[in-house]
């Protein structure tokens, strides 16, 4: 696609996944039976997790969901969205700043939100131990509550028993394995690699290898310059976005955005352009926010990729 006719990026997840638009409308209404039906109709466990995670970003759900749960304690979707909503609100208070820049008061409020979320989610995972949407939220709360890696890993293992290639949860564990959350680069890369190899060809999980390298690049500018890292990123692409089996299942847009940014940083503009073309207007904030304002960075990097690739 020539640069001139490239559509403006749309960061609304509904661009890539239209049902998210319907989900948002149903939540704002609020029409809980409709929300539940939309999540229940999710084509797979990853879609279910992504829909509930998205629902957790819509303000207001925390106001009526406690009543929904009080009426029906078995409503796993209500628990996942309420838990996720409380976690989202907690992180909003904490902000993503390094711990040294977060006040005691912020930490207290943050923890209060996470404790409320955990209580909802403990009950829900007890009732629905096979629901990855619930366990994915509990990976986030575990990180926020400062639990050790052994506990984060235990939660992931409980989830993986039921869905061994659950990309959203793998992404959460990958974060916990980063040094900033108490892990090591070795553990983090090893986990990403392991997920990539375990997944079938064309599966999106290889993106974890790239996410891991981008995380490390944030801490070390020179990281991407290493030929080994470059090789690993290409191997990951070959196993996922370049594989003919790579489909448009939930999560595809985030995966291609990540590869687009990695290729762009590696200076492989042709490869980056390939991802931009597949993406069309479906942009995701992650990982572009690593480079600044996602909207701006996406457009600049795309224009650069198209120009240098001679498109």
């Amino acid at each position: 696609m020539p640069a001139a006719s490239a559509p403006p990026p749309d960061f609304d997840p509904a661009a890539a996944y239209p049902e998210m638009g319907r989900l948002r409308a149903a939540l704002t209404a609020p029409d809980w039976p409709e929300v539940r039906a939309l999540v229940a109709a999710a084509p797979g466990p990853v879609a279910r997790t992504m829909l509930t995670q998205y629902a957790a970003t819509v303000p207001g759900a925390e106001l009526f969901l406690p009543d929904v749960l009080a009426r029906d304690a078995d409503d796993a979707v209500a628990a996942a969205v309420l838990g996720g909503r409380l976690i989202t609100m907690g992180w909003a208070v904490r902000s993503s700043a390094p711990a040294a820049y977060v006040s005691q008061e912020q930490f207290r409020t943050f923890r209060d939100f996470l404790v409320r979320a955990e209580r909802v989610l403990i009950d829900a995972t007890a009732r629905h131990p096979a629901d990855p949407a619930l366990w994915s939220q509990r990976l986030l709360s575990a990180r926020g509550l400062g639990f050790g890696l052994a506990e984060v890993r235990r939660r992931y293992d409980r989830l993986a028993e039921h869905d061994p290639h659950h990309l959203p949860a793998q992404g959460h564990l990958l974060q916990s394995l980063c040094p900033k959350w108490g892990g090591t680069w070795q553990q983090m890369h090893a986990f990403a690699h392991e997920c990539m190899l375990a997944a079938p060809p064309g599966a999106p999980n290889a993106v974890l290898v790239v996410t891991g390298h981008l995380e490390r690049w944030l801490a070390d500018d020179a990281h991407l310059a290493s030929p080994e890292v470059r090789t690993e990123i290409y191997e990951a692409a070959a196993r996922s976005v370049w594989d003919p089996g790579f489909g448009n299942d939930h999560g595809w847009a985030g995966v291609r955005n990540t590869f687009a940014m990695a290729f762009s940083l590696l200076g492989d503009h042709r490869a980056a352009a390939g991802q931009f073309t597949e993406l069309g207007r479906c942009a995701s904030e992650h990982p572009w926010h690593f480079l600044g304002d996602p909207a701006e960075v996406f457009v600049t990097r795309r224009a650069q990729a198209y120009a240098k690739a001679g498109l």
Binding site: T125, A126, R127, A142, G148, A150, R158
Partner: protein, 564 residues
């Protein structure tokens, strides 16, 4: 089949066993009946009754639990009869010449006993009284006199407060239980130190443990079995999060039973062990109970009732029910009850147990996120009285008033009111340890607080003499001497060093510079219109003030965070 009879006025239970004769004489008395200043009196009495120590090759023993004391023996008929006859004779006429030797033996025994989570749980649940006393050292030993022991024996070691069980064909020939008459002593009422349940606490151990008090019933025993299977599966088999996990069910003798569960793990697995433990409890609470587990536990317990040892194995627990006047269903009735236990019954116990639960979490962990409320670690109210500054550089003040003593610091608030004091430990050098009924304690080291020399005698005058425990003299080096510098690095900067931090961070210098540039601005700005030279200087001073103010605010925030 258990046969009921009587030996010298003592109710007696007999059940056949294929093995050698064994018998137990059980009294309804234990640590829960004691008081803290006489803690250990039952144990000491049991030791004296066992003296002279058992004959070679015989299995004679005495055990003390919170609510019962037993003497048992196994061997040829005449040996068992001689042992129990001897115990009763000794209880009637205590060999008090062995008193000091036995006290010494008990002290050594205590020193070599491993800490058990059940002790901590009892202390946090009940306080320093009745069912919580088992958690305390036998501090009272040194204070116990021969008269105390005789009075204790007369009150509790009577034929009316005893029961005998025999695993064998009949009462062995030559057995005489010559015990004085008395009365049956009910299990003491259980106090609570927990304002809310479910509650949690941490006392530095590397383990997770739980106890719960439920109505005594067959379904509760089955629930405990199911819990144990879940703990084993979830913490040992599924992820190897713990190195050990177990659960136990123990009737308390007052219509209730105590369920305990515990798990141990390596330090790096503590979080996962706690997380797994919490999830297992939650699953049982919401009713996710595996029918196969219930079936397995029921089958196990039914088998235990019907095998050759069945009735004989039940003798101690049935004997305890005789002592406490609780129902004692036959093996057939129990088998029928077990067969009728449903998943719903087990779920009902789970809800009851977890609602009343007390959870011990590993060192440095919390369980508020799992719905448990933190058990009180200190006293809500502060003591009023004169305050004495700590001379050791620690940010703690000793408060001594007419109603009690307390310690107040940045992270602690403990007080013991004299009226609620259950024990006062007194050292010759002036150290005092006061323990309140709620188990909150205050240690007074008079050398460590300013003007505190007279406090020990004030405490001694305020606390009744029968609560006092004399402690042995400490080595001179063990008596603390104040060293103002000792805690400077660890206990957070004190007022003097706080100032120093502000100064070192350049806050004072920045503030001075800001004042200077602000003054220049203020002086020159009104005249700026007249003189363009002033304009430039005033503008520069204004900008400089702005930059300085920003730097100062940042610096202040940094230092405040540092000092928090």
């Amino acid at each position: 089949m258990i046969r009921y009879t009587e030996v010298d006025g003592v109710p007696t239970l007999i059940a056949p066993t294929p093995g050698p004769l064994r018998a137990g004489l059980m009294f309804r008395v234990g640590r829960a009946d004691e008081t803290l200043p006489r803690a250990g009196i039952t144990h000491l009495l049991a030791h004296l009754a066992l003296a002279p120590p058992g004959r070679a090759g015989c299995h004679d023993d005495g055990t003390t639990s919170p609510v019962r004391t037993s003497f048992h023996s196994q061997g040829p008929d005449q040996d068992v009869a001689a042992f129990l006859t001897g115990v009763c004779a000794a209880l009637r006429d205590l060999p008090t010449r062995r008193l000091e030797t036995e006290k010494e033996i008990l002290r050594t025994e205590y020193g070599s006993r491993p800490a058990h989570p059940a002790g901590s749980l009892a202390l946090w649940r009940h306080g320093a009284r009745d069912h919580g006393l088992a958690a305390y050292p036998e501090w009272g030993l040194s204070m116990i006199t021969a008269d105390d022991l005789r009075a204790w024996a007369a009150r509790y070691f009577t034929r009316d407060n005893a029961v005998l069980w025999i695993g064998g064909r009949d009462v062995p020939a030559g057995l005489t239980l010559d015990l004085p008459g008395g009365e049956r002593r009910p299990v003491p009422a259980a106090s609570s130190a927990l304002p809310v349940t479910p509650a949690y606490f941490s006392d530095g151990a590397h383990a997770v443990a739980l106890d719960a008090v439920v109505r005594r019933r067959t379904a509760a025993a089955v629930f405990t079995g199911v819990l144990e299977r879940e703990l084993f599966r979830g913490l040992r088999q599924e992820g190897d999060y713990a190195s050990a996990a177990a659960a136990d069910y123990e009737p308390r003798g007052d219509g209730y039973a105590v369920i305990t569960a515990s798990a141990d793990a390596l330090p790096e697995k503590q979080d996962a062990m706690l997380g797994g433990f919490v999830d297992i409890l939650a699953a049982l609470r919401v009713g996710r109970i595996r029918p196969a587990d219930v079936d397995a536990v029921v089958a196990e317990r039914t088998h235990a009732l019907t095998d050759a040892e069945g009735s004989a194995a039940r003798l101690p627990s049935v004997a305890f029910s005789v002592l406490t006047g609780e129902p004692r269903p036959s093996a057939e009735e129990l088998t029928a009850e077990l067969g009728q236990v449903t998943i719903a019954d087990v779920h009902e116990v789970a809800v009851e147990a977890l609602d009343a639960a007390l959870l011990m979490v590993p060192d440095g962990r919390h369980a508020d996120w799992a719905g448990f409320t933190e058990a009180p670690t200190g006293s809500g109210e502060a003591m009023t009285g004169r305050t004495h500054r700590c001379l050791d550089g620690v940010d703690v003040q000793l408060v001594a008033g007419p109603e009690g003593v307390g310690l107040i610091g940045a992270h602690q608030r403990e007080s013991v009111r004299f009226a609620e004091c259950v024990a006062l430990l007194a050292w010759p050098d002036g150290r005092r340890l006061l323990i309140g009924a709620d188990a909150v304690s205050v240690t007074v080291e008079p050398t460590l607080y300013a003007g505190a020399a007279a406090i020990p005698s004030a405490i001694d005058a305020a606390v009744p003499a029968h609560l006092r425990i004399e402690m042995p003299a400490r080595e001179p080096w063990a008596i603390p001497r104040p060293d103002p510098k000792r805690h400077r690095g660890t206990a957070g900067p004190r007022a003097g060093s706080r100032l120093r931090v502000w100064k070192d961070a350049g806050v004072t210098r920045l503030a001075l510079l800001l004042a200077l540039s602000a003054a220049v601005t203020a002086l020159l700005l009104p005249n700026a219109v007249a003189d363009s030279g002033n304009w430039v200087v005033a503008l520069v001073a204004l900008v400089v003030s702005g930059v300085l103010a920003r730097a100062l605010i940042r610096r202040i925030r940094l230092v405040r965070r540092l000092l928090q």
